[in-house]
Amino acid sequence: MPLHQHLPKGLLSGMLLLFSFFVYSQTRTITGRITDDKGNPLPGTTITVRGSSTTVSADSAGQFHINASAGAHLVISSIGFAEQDIAIGQRTSFSVTLQTDTRSLNDVVVVGYGTMRKKDVTGAVATVSARDFSPGIVNNPLQQIQGKVAGLVITQPGGDPNGNPIIRLRGQTSLSGGQTPLIVVDGIPLDDPTQLSNIPATDIESYDVLKDVSATAIYGSRGANGVIIINTKKGRTGRTLVEYNGYVGMDHIEKGFGLLTADQWRDVVKTVPGITPSTIAGLDKGANTDWLKAITRTAYTHSHNVAVSGGTGDFHYRASVNYMNQQGIVINNNKEQMSLRFNGEEKALHGKLDIQFGLFSSEVHRKYVDYNIFDYVNTTPPTYPVYNADGSYFGYYDYDQQNPVAQQMLEQNTGRERLSQYFARVDYSLLPNLKIGTQGSYSALNFQKDFFQPSLPGVGNVNGATQSNAETDSKKGDVHINWLGNYGKHSITATAVYEYNDFTNSNFSASGQDFLVEDLQDNYLGGGNPALNVINSYRQEYKIISFLGRATYNYNSKYYATVSFRRDGSSKFGVDNRWGNFPSASIAWRIKNEDFLKDVSWLDDLKINAGYGVVGNQDAIGPYNTLLTLGGVGRYYNPSNTTYQYPQSYAPNQNANPNLKWEQRVGTNIGVNFALFDNRLYGSANVFNDKTKNLLFNYTVPVPPFFYNSILANVGTLTNKGVELQLNGDIVRGRDFSWTAGAQITFIHTRITSLSGTYDSTHIATDDVPVGQAEGRGYASNYITYLKVGYSPYVFYLPEFAGLSSTIDPGSNSNQLYYDANGKKTADITQAKSRYVDPTPKFTYGFSSTLNYKDWGLNFFLRGVYGQKLFNDFSNVVSNFSRLPGNNITKEGLTNGIRGSQTASDYWLQNASYLRLDNITLSYTFRHLKGLESLRVYTTGSNLFVLTPYKGMDPEIRNGDSNQAYIDTDVYGDAFYPRSRTVVFGVNVSFK
């Protein structure tokens, strides 16, 4: 029975009936006004009676009323300001001035199933709030914090507006996919991290990144890859705020492929050995085409966000509408997004009942790029025209060669995503120190894809169309209890939660071929050749049920301890392995509060913390991997059946493993947080050591007796060790001029420590696993990266290049030489000695700086990677003279001297360290315009330069989400969408 269907209503009415008569108040009314240091009112400031759940917010004039007893303390906090603690005594009226606090130590951090003050956190948690977000064209919200959090590596592979970033927190944690951190939006985990691209960035207030295992253990079986908590903006009681944020942006291609122009091609093909004038004449169609230019454009983007927020008394809300239309720099490539979000919170029954709810609905329309066109750009001679004289597309066809403009323009290749998320939460303060509540949510993503490929000019293919529709739905519910107690200097909190998650994924697709009327695209699938129609559907369901608890202890803000425990059950597993336990413990010591440091005036804060925890991962496991199931395995011929001659055959669709269990990550973290010189210099350092056990992987098994050559099993181990440093400084703090800077650097070392072991009394011995291949014409299963014990994942194993010979070897038809095992040069690559090369970066880093002078602001952000190596597969294939004349080559192919077919040697392994100017922004704020609260105008340049020795198009490629990590390929779906440079003009308006 899905709990959430009954709980909110049932439990709520139960609460009301049973407990509404509890009224306790031997108190009086306190009033006050809250301002900043310039005397401006601070609406929305939170005023809490310490040690109780009584909380109110200041109104638009900064005024508040609260009931409290004489002996109580008021805790006054507002984001961005230092928290104040005021003893009430006999006074009933207060005027409070809050000081800005750039460190926001008192800010609240969402830690999963609850919040903590930042200074009380015992694990490694990083927070990035709105003022530190990167501006520019933000296609996926995480671009706002790319490079800003030590340990969090976000890679945007290319410039495709429909691409998804690759997100890795503290290294590669697993070998079988499912390595993206859990993304939690307002307390609700996203069903799929790619749903982030449906959420407008402008709705986001802050990110809390739970990094170490003791912090993520509260998410148990889903915490192994770390957790990124996203908090959307909420309204505050007070005057209604109306805001508009908008920008227009312009994208231009960053760098080309460096291909020959038509004139260069004409010059050089004459020198191709054995070429005849008739061959050249056949290929020279007289055009001068820059094919990359032909498929790209200057792209325009505009984005608009209108938000209304406010509230009166016990109710506050925020509503926002977003629209964004982003063109890709490739023709006929687009993302259009519309969304609506509403967050509300109602307090009732004298502040004891708290009801929150949220609605989010978005619609995204996408026009995709057919990635084959990048391949065609590199193969087609520049002497071919795009169009015929009559304006029709010039058609041609050869292996891997056809008109890319025609393909991209004539194909219908679109998607429509509708994401709806509903959420409601009710909390009731049963006692001053005891809250109970329940939460329910529903998320539904509908994804419709439309594809139609007409008969393309020169290709003569049979036209075909496919329409598919996929649903990714989830229902989630919980019941929770929070308790807090203060006993003198001892402060204790406890949380217990029961949670229920139900997931359903399904899809339906139909396709047809050979349509008479191409204009109908995929809207009349029945109109093709009925023998070629294909239909399919699919559905899978699974559940996760959890019990979890957390307790914290704080002695005098000096000694802290947190313990948590989660027990997760998942229907994906066999009956014996369904439940797993995920404990954690962490401690912290605020040394600054010890007597011996109290008087050290230059030291504002010093805290050390240490944590240990166990988390799990089940993403690699499908819902039915443990079961012996039969699936359709193709049709068979049965001519004796007069009505239906090709029935479906059924066979086991996998090597079932009934013993599958959770992949476990066990980790320790030691950290230090500090603030010096009147909080001018502050930062943190963390050292972690994580080990993933029972590593899920498709291990090779012998055939026979198996008939599939791999089985998903828990066998190996891998380790992640790292150091993260984050440092921020307020270099100048003047009234008119201020300058702050921040930097982070991350060192991560990942090693596979075992791929062998026993599963179900069967020994599995996997020494090394080939994973990534050199790809392109002439290659087949040419593996160059491996999973190998003792190395980081995707270590290269490549023949050593020994230069070029002055003659062409008759055996290899090539002048490329390699070192053999004896150190002698050989032209035979099969005799070459290979060596292992670790391509992983030594460290990644980011540096930001913000300058403000009066109403002017200038900030920039640099980020980089050091020590990364990439196999330049693109250049390996395309910078090859032997492709001439039928395929184009790069200019590098004219000078590198290589003759003969390309080979995959370490010559092509290139240093791909880089430093990128991620963004730079200049802004001006008008403060005293009539009718406006404020008006800020800004211009941002993104990706204005990249410093790198890498010879390929861009050193930031798709690493980590496919087997082709660290391989910069040019073929098929693995090709890279060119990156762009962007200029944005934007405005932020707040209306009075």
């Binding site: 066809y397 050869d398 899978q540 559940k543 059924y650 090779t700 026979p704 008939f707």
Partner: protein, 544 residues
């Protein structure tokens, strides 16, 4: 916690635990796949559960297994045309006999074959545990074991000393190699045990399925090659098995040779056991794409360009009698081959008019109209195939046109891959030639054998008996060449070359004489040894 607190919280814990008790059940409905125990309920489901034993066959006749059987022989070569078909040298390794335990086809064919064996082991374990037992269980077992014996025959023929597994639940850690001779004995015994239970019916109900006649064919192949496999000849047994098939009266030669390889070849009276393909439903026959050139889509009406890969050299092409009669129509000259089988390879200029079936009749061989010439789009050269391949790898433009191209499985208009032609495994013409060969080797060749061979030759020459052999022409070398003409692209050439002693010969291009005979079986793939270290490598290959 204070007592007062407990007082308030207790009712909640009670209410909460009620919900929790109800909601800790993790039972899950299974969708889109069916738990094994819920399948096998009806005769149709049992048939569909047995079908994968056959479905696995579709990867063999034009995949890794085909490459191992044909490219290692004198019949098929896949030269590297620049980077095209270089494929890391895998095809060159096969042609020049320099493959290793990691060559892609050596690795792939193993799992292709053993997946069939594994699936049959699985199906046998299930159907024999069904309660109630399905109707005709004995016959089902006999049919599956016969098919398994065929997979084992191919696997033994390819890899020699192989693990012998008949129980799906075998512990993988206990598996070791069985000697080639013992695998032969196992195959023989399985087939002989199954024979009495196998069907003798030849009609649509048994099309693409093993029958008693299929079992005789497997035994005939086994006995004909017994000397190669074990050192002991069994010619008389081979003759007896061939006679059992021939004498059944179930099969007869088709008048049109190409009928056996055409799209509608399910009506062939000559094919004994085939692997069915269908453009829509059963993919895997891609001969047209592999053999033809990118621009051959023009004259063969393919849905897009082919791949310009597999071909044959001049020496192999020279086995064909290309004597033709010519007719002139306007600016064009058409040729008709005397030996119809010679039309299965195309050479020379390709022209834009549609190439019609059958490929031996009225082939456009010359036109004085230059507009009809197809050109290689990428190099601008005239698209004209030549069989004289002198190098195994050459980036030159003209090398794209090297090699004679097979169109024995006649290209199917509107397709590019997934042809509908079923690929024969056993065919009466093969059995007739095998019978003659076994008699020759046995020293018992008679007019019967000569008659069988001449049936084939007369059919090839359109009924013209003037090309028939005399008894003196019935020799082993002539038979090997006749087999080349008759059976190319039917995946028996490697076997034939080994049996006739030509397998290790030098060949143009670039193949030198084999130093020893260890190349006659392939190495155990390294990945299989990695997964099961008990496996021992075959003689002559580097030990693991």
């Amino acid at each position: 916690m204070k007592l007062a607190t407990m007082k308030y919280i207790t009712p909640f814990l009670l209410i909460g635990s009620l919900f929790m008790g109800a909601c800790t059940k993790l039972d899950q409905r299974v969708s889109s796949v069916i738990p094994n125990q819920d399948f096998w309920q009806t005769p149709e489901q049992i048939a569909a559960g047995i079908a994968p034993a056959y479905a696995q066959l579709s990867v063999l006749p034009d995949g890794n297994f085909q490459n191992l059987q044909e490219t290692t022989s004198d019949e098929q070569v896949v030269p590297a045309r620049g980077s095209d078909w270089l494929a890391d040298g895998q095809h060159i390794q096969l042609w020049t006999h320099t493959w290793t335990s990691q060559t892609a086809q050596v690795v792939g064919a193993w799992t292709d074959l053993y997946s069939g064996i594994g699936k049959i082991n699985f199906i046998l374990s299930i159907v024999n545990s069904l309660k109630p037992a399905p109707d005709g269980l004995n016959k089902i077992n006999a049919e599956l074991k016969t098919l398994r014996a065929l997979y084992y025959y191919w696997t033994m023929d390819t890899y020699g000393n192989i693990p012998l597994v008949t129980d799906f639940n075998t512990n993988p850690n206990t598996l070791t190699n069985t000697s080639r001779a013992d695998v032969c004995k196992f195959i023989e015994s399985e087939l002989k045990t199954s024979l009495p239970l196998l069907t003798e019916v030849v009609d649509p109900t048994t099309y693409g399925r093993v029958t008693k006649w299929t079992a005789f064919c497997i035994l005939a192949k086994l006995y004909l090659n017994y000397q190669v496999y074990t050192g002991t000849p069994r010619w008389a047994d081979a003759i007896a098995m061939c006679d059992s098939v021939i004498g059944s009266g179930k099969y007869s030669l088709e008048a049109d040779y190409y009928k056996n390889f055409y799209q509608d070849n399910e009506s062939s009276t000559e094919n004994i056991f085939v692997i069915p393909f269908d453009h829509v439903n059963i993919a895997g026959n891609n001969h047209e794409a592999e053999d033809l050139h990118y621009q051959n889509n023009i004259n063969f009406q393919l849905s897009s360009g082919a791949w310009n890969g597999f071909c044959s050299n001049a020496e192999f092409y020279s086995h064909f009698d290309t004597t033709s009669t010519y007719t002139v129509k306007g600016t064009e000259i058409y040729r008709t081959y005397l030996d119809s089988r010679s039309g299965q390879y195309i050479i020379g200029q390709q022209y834009t008019p549609v190439f019609t079936y059958p490929p031996n009749l009225n082939v456009l061989s010359y036109s004085s109209n230059p507009a009809l010439k197809i050109k290689d789009a990428q190099t601008g050269l005239d698209l004209s195939f030549y069989p004289n391949i002198t190098e195994i790898s050459n980036p030159a433009d003209s090398f794209r046109l090297a090699g004679a191209r097979s169109i024995k499985y006649f290209p199917e208009p509107g397709t590019q891959v997934s042809m509908s032609a079923d690929v024969p495994v056993f065919r009466l013409a093969d059995i007739l030639l095998m019978r003659a060969e076994a008699s020759l080797r046995n020293g018992t060749a008679s007019g019967i054998d000569l008659g069988y061979v001449n049936m084939i030759r007369a059919r090839a020459y359109g009924g013209d008996v003037s090309h028939n052999w005399s008894m003196g022409q019935l020799t082993l070398p002539n038979l090997l060449d006749e087999r080349a003409r008759e059976l190319s692209q039917e995946n028996w050439r490697r076997d034939d070359c080994i049996r006739f002693g030509t397998f290790g010969n030098a060949r143009t291009p670039n193949k030198t004489v084999d130093a020893d005979t260890h190349w006659q079986i392939f190495p155990i793939p390294k990945v299989q040894h990695d997964a099961n270290p008990n496996l021992k490598q075959n003689p002559g290959y580097p030990a693991f």
